[in-house]
Symmetry: C2
């Protein structure tokens, strides 16, 4: 399935904003800015910022204020990839078809580039063009999903601790929801907040984001089994080699596909009440679970 | 020189708040919460939160809202120590007389505990009992000093890159101002903001914080040469062994002492206009440059 027609246009907006929101490569000390930019501009699809932008569009004629918010989410996503790839964690040499940050710049700079991107995310959110009350809501939401309690760090810890253990459905669900779904959910929630959605809208989009994010990770597990390394731009079959907790390992491929489709359907139903206003977000959701890489 | 009489009382307030603001050790996944708490409760002096609290007192009859703000600064300080101690950076085994986080919990958990404390800092600031406009100002200030441009990550990168090179006054000043003075300055600025200071007050306290933070780091360099490991709770003489850029290495001990005293005097003059209202902050400033460990 090809991305929605508006995808490349949104992506260009996001790329330009990411460029603007990062310090120049020449700013001292240049080495850290080179490392940050290397990983941010390594070919990410920008799914989180685009979800944020298109969620804001449901509520705002001009969703532009959601662009820097989405970029902050991309910084957090990139920081998490840089740190997860480190030798002490997943020890990955390849990411999006390129050497990982620590392979390219050494471990010290990779650790610090991750730290700097996480920090830059909050600096970006603090300066987002939203009224202060909304900015604080977005920051609280994003900080919570990046943290340890049902958040990304918690999910990563559970993932590391599950390696080599027999598959466990509860642990697997915790890992996927915390490590991946949480940030995707926050992208949609932050978009609803940036677009000026009411509380009930924010909660509806939260349910959409949770389910679509979860489905997204199940699809990721499936692709790791099905696709070649070339198509994925990372080492395929690695989950199995590392005895990672995955849906195919626990439920098999067919059942995993059914689970992903079911979660996606539940997610998309949340958008029904917005009818045409949510057309783009709906297309995005469909794309995220039908993608091949 | 002994700490000011109010120091232990302030510290007890801060300890209780840190305890409240961190997830319980039993919260899943427990391992990461154990690692976070191990490093936060490893015996820090709580200089940054106490500076924040006492800066707020100049402007507020009750500086209590500054306590969680100060705790967020302590989380950032602790994260920076955990990551700086990692094998890929300073490779330190001992911190405050105890095994460093990665020695105790392994590198993966140490990296993630640092990430989690940085994240928790912003989550704490987003929930601080200040009106949203002030919260956003504090978050912007703190994120900037934790970052790469004249901030902590920038200072750490410059420090790593200066190792083994001939001493350079400009590089040394950049490192000390970015790596240490910036967070101390932010502690005082955040306190002024939390206490309700006007813009002119915030700028005055910024100048105080900058100078006192810089003096603090020069004193740290001096103590590294003069004191034993036992008194410092970390490996003494390590700066020299690692050929770190320090004031004593560049200027000698006597001149370094003069520089620290001069910076401290400049800092304290900024407080003159507050007279007795700044008595405690003044005492703190004097203590920070006269301490022996």
């Amino acid at each position: 399935m090809k991305p929605p027609s508006f995808f490349e246009q949104d992506r260009a907006l996001v790329e330009a904003a990411l460029e603007r929101l990062l310090p120049a490569e020449t700013a001292p000390p240049p080495s850290i800015h080179r490392a940050m930019r290397y990983s941010v501009f390594a070919g990410g699809k920008r799914i989180r910022p685009i979800l944020c932008y298109e969620a804001a569009r449901i509520f705002a004629a001009d969703p532009a204020p959601a662009v820097p918010v989405g970029c902050a989410l991309e910084f957090i996503h990139t920081y998490s990839l840089i740190h997860d790839d480190l030798p002490a964690l997943d020890n990955d040499d390849l990411r999006r078809g390129k050497p990982t940050c620590h392979k390219q710049f050494g471990e010290a700079l990779a650790i610090l580039a991750g730290d700097a991107l996480l920090t830059r995310a909050f600096e970006t959110l603090a300066a987002a063009p939203l009224e202060p009350g909304r900015r604080v809501q977005v920051i609280a939401e994003v900080a919570a999903v990046a943290g340890t309690v049902d958040g990304m760090v918690g999910g990563q810890v559970a993932d590391l601790e599950a390696e080599g253990k027999p598959p466990d459905a509860a642990a697997l669900e915790y890992i996927h929801r915390s490590k991946t779904a949480a940030l995707i959910r926050a992208s949609v929630v932050a978009g609803a907040l940036a677009g000026g959605g009411e509380d009930a809208d924010v909660e509806r989009l939260r349910r959409f984001g949770e389910k679509i994010g979860w489905a997204f990770q199940v699809v990721d597990d499936i692709l790791d089994v099905e696709e070649s390394s070339a198509a994925l731009g990372k080492t395929a079959g690695k989950d199995q080699a590392q005895k990672k907790a995955t849906y195919p390992a626990l439920y098999g491929l067919e059942e995993s596909r059914r689970i992903a489709a079911d979660l996606a359907a539940q997610a998309l139903r949340e958008l029904d009440s917005y009818a045409g206003r949510a057309a783009r977000l709906r297309e995005l959701g469909e794309f995220l679970v039908a993608r091949r890489a």
